[in-house]
């Protein structure tokens, strides 16, 4: 490919944007946001040029590595600053730069009242640069640089409004929990270095088949740990809900469409290695299945529109992890679902941002209702995203999620039944909670007061209902929503036609033999659709027909647990934080009573000895003279004794 040498510019362009905006500082406040949009769009254009070039060559020539320089060269280890350009990375490049550019555009309007809008755009550009480095790296070490870069950008953007303490705490929580996963990646690289003698994809993945299963399993599980941290999978999922403290465009770009899917990318990229470790693959699938249910259950009980979407993200990434754990049969579908999910979930988040914009930044869905007429564009775009995530044909979610459910039913023994049924049930719950979100927001009775309605004063109605002035968002915000909605509708159909996307990824994921699921495909599709319709109908009755109480009603133990994220914070605090605290406290105690006491005692003894010796220095010259004379006497005595005995 001729345009391979453009690859470094994909990372450099947004990086230059971020550096310039941060270095020029307040002087760029007036034009900084447009500069950020420009940097992001330019990245998209470069990506598009490379993509078009790639589409023009044969499938076999689509994988290329562009090495710009040698990065680390010590002894036997040599790591290049190389860029891996292949269908998988280009899929991500297009997703990141396209959705990223739309969200940049959206943010121009969304953040227009923020004093620090320029800083926000600098961080967004930094994120795009780091994320592109992550997907374009040709070695695990360079990938790790991007991995940490997106973590940093995520931290900076979650805590963007850090004058409000909970936001800063949420940023810290995300950063610390990600660090746990990062340790997994570092340890995995150590194993690779010891086993393969290198960390670049060519060395590691090329010779992965020859490695023994124990080592492969260890590396696979460590990579899974890394993926769990970044992608908010069990048991490192607790940070994602709190990450919603950041501005909504950030939630859309980083915590829904791109960064949280980095874990799936890592696992799919490491496919050849994971195939040497069936046990690790099983664990990946189990983690995905559990998270899928976990997120879905939490999503059903959340009243905060952004947290409900966050739970949904967690659940959908669970689907992708499940697919990634199924082996070659699932890789392409994991990435396919990741791509369509990037579109419809970003669209849903931008819609949520538009709703918040209209409702004075309120996120409580119990105070929404009946907004469809007032926010028509938002309602329609979110509605299309909603149908897409439900998996209603012919929207894009249908093609991607249905394929995962089918793939989950492939296999022998107990696995297809367990994974398949979990995926199936998950689809039903997804339909319920997403419909609940949609109906609570846009349908049903208005649970807020407007000044035009009778009985409401400026401070709200008599029963405490807040006064709102819902209005449609400006075109800068609705345009990205419309584009993403179009993607949510058509992307799945276009890419699925003739298995186009699966063949597109084949140079990377390899050709997967077609396996028949344990149930006939028509039955799986029918079952899925029946469950989806049931879930949506239940939500319709509960949240569009019946009255929605404005305070959470008393509920069963499961709902109460789901409202507090199934006690994930309590579990973390009980299992990790508390023992950690006890350990550090006991270490401090041991340090004080044993180590410190010993050395301080010794030091005190030396000090006391010195004090006693100091008393000898009286300042009287005569006393010193006496000491000298005494010493002389001792010397004479010794000489006399020694020589006297020698003589006798």
């Amino acid at each position: 490919m001729q345009t391979l040498s453009l690859a470094p510019w994909l990372v450099a362009t947004p990086l230059i944007g971020a550096a310039l905006l941060l270095l020029v500082g307040r002087r760029s406040d007036r034009w900084g946001h447009w500069f950020g949009v420009l940097a992001s769009t330019a990245t998209f254009v470069i990506g598009l040029v490379i993509l078009l070039d790639m589409l023009g060559v044969d499938a076999a020539e689509r994988v290329g590595v562009h090495t710009t320089a040698s990065w680390i060269d010590v002894g036997p280890l040599s790591v290049d600053l190389g860029f891996q350009v292949d269908p998988l990375s280009m899929t991500f490049v297009m997703l990141i730069s396209f959705v990223g550019s739309l969200i940049h555009l959206y943010s121009v309007a969304y953040m227009s009242h923020d004093r620090d809008r320029r800083r926000f755009f600098a961080y967004l550009n930094l994120f795009v640069a780091a994320m592109l480095l992550l997907v374009l790296a040709d070695s695990y070490l360079l990938l790790f640089v991007g991995w940490e870069g997106v973590g940093l950008a995520s931290y900076l953007l979650i805590g963007f409004w850090d004058h409000h303490l909970p936001n800063a705490v949420a940023g810290k929580k995300a950063f610390v929990m990600n660090r746990v996963g990062d340790m997994g990646l570092i340890a995995a690289m150590m194993f690779m270095l010891a086993t393969f003698g290198g960390v670049d994809f060519l060395t590691v993945l090329g010779t992965a088949g020859a490695v023994d299963e124990g080592t492969a399993t260890a590396i696979g599980l460590l990579l899974l740990l890394a993926a769990c941290g970044k992608s908010a999978q069990l048991p490192l999922q607790a940070w994602l809900g709190d990450a919603m403290a950041g501005p909504t465009p950030v939630s859309a770009l980083i915590h829904a469409a791109t960064m949280v899917t980095a874990g799936v990318y890592l696992l799919v990229r490491s496919g050849p290695l994971l195939e040497a470790a069936p046990d690790a693959q099983l664990v990946i699938a189990v983690v995905g299945a559990l998270t899928l249910l976990f997120g879905a259950i939490v999503g059903c009980a959340k009243d905060d529109i952004k947290k409900a979407l966050a739970a949904s993200t967690m659940s959908q990434i669970g689907y992708m992890m499940l697919a990634a754990g199924l082996g070659p049969v699932g890789y392409a579908f994991a990435i396919f679902h990741l791509l369509t999910h990037g579109f419809f979930k970003a669209g849903l988040f931008l819609g949520a941002g538009s709703v918040m914009h209209a409702m004075d930044d309120d996120v409580n869905m119990r105070r929404f209702g009946g907004l469809a007429r007032l926010l028509p564009v938002t309602a329609i775009t979110m509605g299309l995203g909603w149908l897409a995530i439900l998996g209603v044909p012919p929207f894009s979610g249908f093609y991607s999620k249905d394929k995962i459910i089918e793939a989950a039913f492939v296999g022998e023994g107990w696995r297809p039944w367990v994974f398949g049924i979990v995926a199936l049930v998950g689809a039903g719950i997804t339909a319920y909670y997403m419909s609940r979100l949609f109906f609570m927001t846009f349908m049903g009775r208005r649970r807020w007061a407007s000044e035009l309605a009778g009985g409401a004063g400026r401070d709200g109605a008599a029963d405490g209902t807040p006064v709102r002035h819902p209005h449609e968002s400006p075109w800068l915000m609705t345009l990205p929503m419309v584009v993403l909605a179009i993607g949510s509708v058509g992307l799945g159909f276009v890419l699925n036609a003739g298995d186009r996307f699966v063949h597109w990824l084949e140079p990377v994921t390899g050709h997967a033999e077609h396996h028949e699921p344990v149930l006939p495909i028509w039955l799986i599709v029918t079952l899925t659709l029946v469950l989806v319709v049931l879930g949506a109908a239940l939500a319709f009755v509960q949240y569009a027909v019946q009255r929605v109480p404005t305070t959470p009603p008393p509920a069963s133990a499961l709902v109460r647990a789901a409202r507090v994220d199934l006690h994930q914070d309590d579990v973390n605090e009980g299992l990790v934080m508390l023992p950690g605290k006890v350990l550090t406290r006991s270490m401090v105690f041991a340090d004080r009573t044993a180590v410190d006491a010993g050395w301080l005692g010794l030091a005190g003894g030396v000090g006391r000895l010195g004090g006693w010796l100091r008393g000898l220095q009286s300042g009287y010259v005569r006393q010193y003279a006496a000491t000298t004379l005494g010493g002389l006497g001792v010397i004479v005595l010794v000489i006399w004794l020694v020589s006297g005995q020698g003589a006798s």
């Binding site: 100091r614 009286s618 009287y620 010259v621 005569r622 003279a625 004379l629």
Partner: protein, 99 residues
């Protein structure tokens, strides 16, 4: 006369000098004690030279005399300076280096 008697005399003179240094407070007198000790040593050295029949002891005695002369010059200068500063020549007053 037995040569060893010179050594007894030297010992007595040395003891007298040492006692003077240790017991007297006046710096001049202490100084005189030091001189007495040096001369007692010289007497012993010369006696040893006579006993052994060579001149090593006598040469050493000359060295001691030279050093003693230099020491007197420096020592007296110090004592005079201290006296000017403190109006006292007592060695017990010079105790700034005590603990």
């Amino acid at each position: 006369m037995e040569l060893v008697n010179y050594l007894y005399l030297a010992s007595i003179l040395f003891a007298l000098g040492a006692t003077t240094v240790l017991l007297r407070r006046n710096a001049i007198v202490v100084f005189m004690g030091v001189e007495l000790m040096l001369n007692a040593t010289n007497l012993a050295l010369v006696t040893f030279a006579r006993m052994h029949g060579d001149i090593t002891g006598q040469v050493l005695a000359f060295f001691v005399m030279v050093v003693a002369a230099a020491e007197v010059v420096v020592g007296l200068a110090i004592i005079v300076t201290i006296f000017r500063a403190r109006r006292s020549a007592s060695v017990d007053d010079v105790n700034l280096l005590k603990s």
